[in-house]
Subunit: 157 residues, 2 copies
């Protein structure tokens, strides 16, 4: 057979898609796309948000209770994740709120949940650039699966 | 309407997909996937290969004619690109053999051709890691469109 590429179209279907989000306002398009890709592939959609621990350096020199700040961050993140999961019809078991280094947690969950596509937003000014900045190479090079970076349009103010 | 994500499934369709390849043996899966994605989206598929100019440092201290080497590289790359294009049923106008910095040429062609998805392979040991190594961040951050990095399985020897 001359065309060795004609046969396998099933290779591009995914069974478990992981949306990594930082809840930036600009993620709406990314979220829609992740839902759409999962639907098209009839695959499970999971969502992950990673809270990076605040170091003493961030808190400055005056005495603050980092424990309280972390609990508050976690509470707020949890609310937003639940809201997003509800809108995406994602059950609780497919929602991952993790604390740690973004890339490490995304890759750990991707591995443990047998994810075959990680979806992230890409933006060169705000928001999701945090996710795709220093961690982009790590995710790309160490991800056990495909990675789709969705271009988020700039919001002009 | 409660679910703001239910309506727009058309957002995930692409009209012009650009496959960036370095002709590594491991690209077969990436090539198949690019063809499959283009077919599923009924989109145009283009392919790009970038030849990075060899500097004097690579050529060492003995006198060599870099012009000859470049012409030979270009000739060989052209043959492989034609072969790949034939197998993928890509017309000549959609084949881009460029000379320059990989990221710069990919982004230039993506912009000029109104590409909405760049497909690259990712591998952490050989081959396409060259494409995704130092140039990964640049492509992700400056690409005018989505980028799909396809995980290429390691070849054990």
């Amino acid at each position: 057979m001359q065309n060795r590429f004609a046969e396998d179209t099933a290779m591009s279907s995914y069974t478990h898609v992981l949306l990594a989000t930082d809840f930036n306002e600009e993620t709406i398009e990314v979220v829609q796309r992740a839902r759409s890709i999962a639907d098209q592939n009839k695959s499970t959609l999971s969502v992950i948000h990673v809270i990076e621990p605040i170091s003493i350096a961030y808190a400055g020199e005056f005495p603050v209770d980092l424990g309280d700040i972390h609990r508050e961050l976690e509470k707020q993140a949890n609310l937003r994740l639940n809201q997003l999961a509800k809108e995406l019809s994602i059950p609780e078991a497919q929602c991952f709120l993790e604390i740690g280094l973004t890339e490490k947690e995304i890759l750990r969950v991707a591995d443990e949940e047998s994810i075959d596509l990680i979806v992230v937003g890409s933006h060169n000014k705000h928001g999701l650039s945090l996710l795709l900045g220093s961690t982009a190479n790590a995710i790309l090079h160490h991800a056990p699966c495909d990675v789709l970076a969705i271009r988020v349009p700039k919001i002009s103010k």
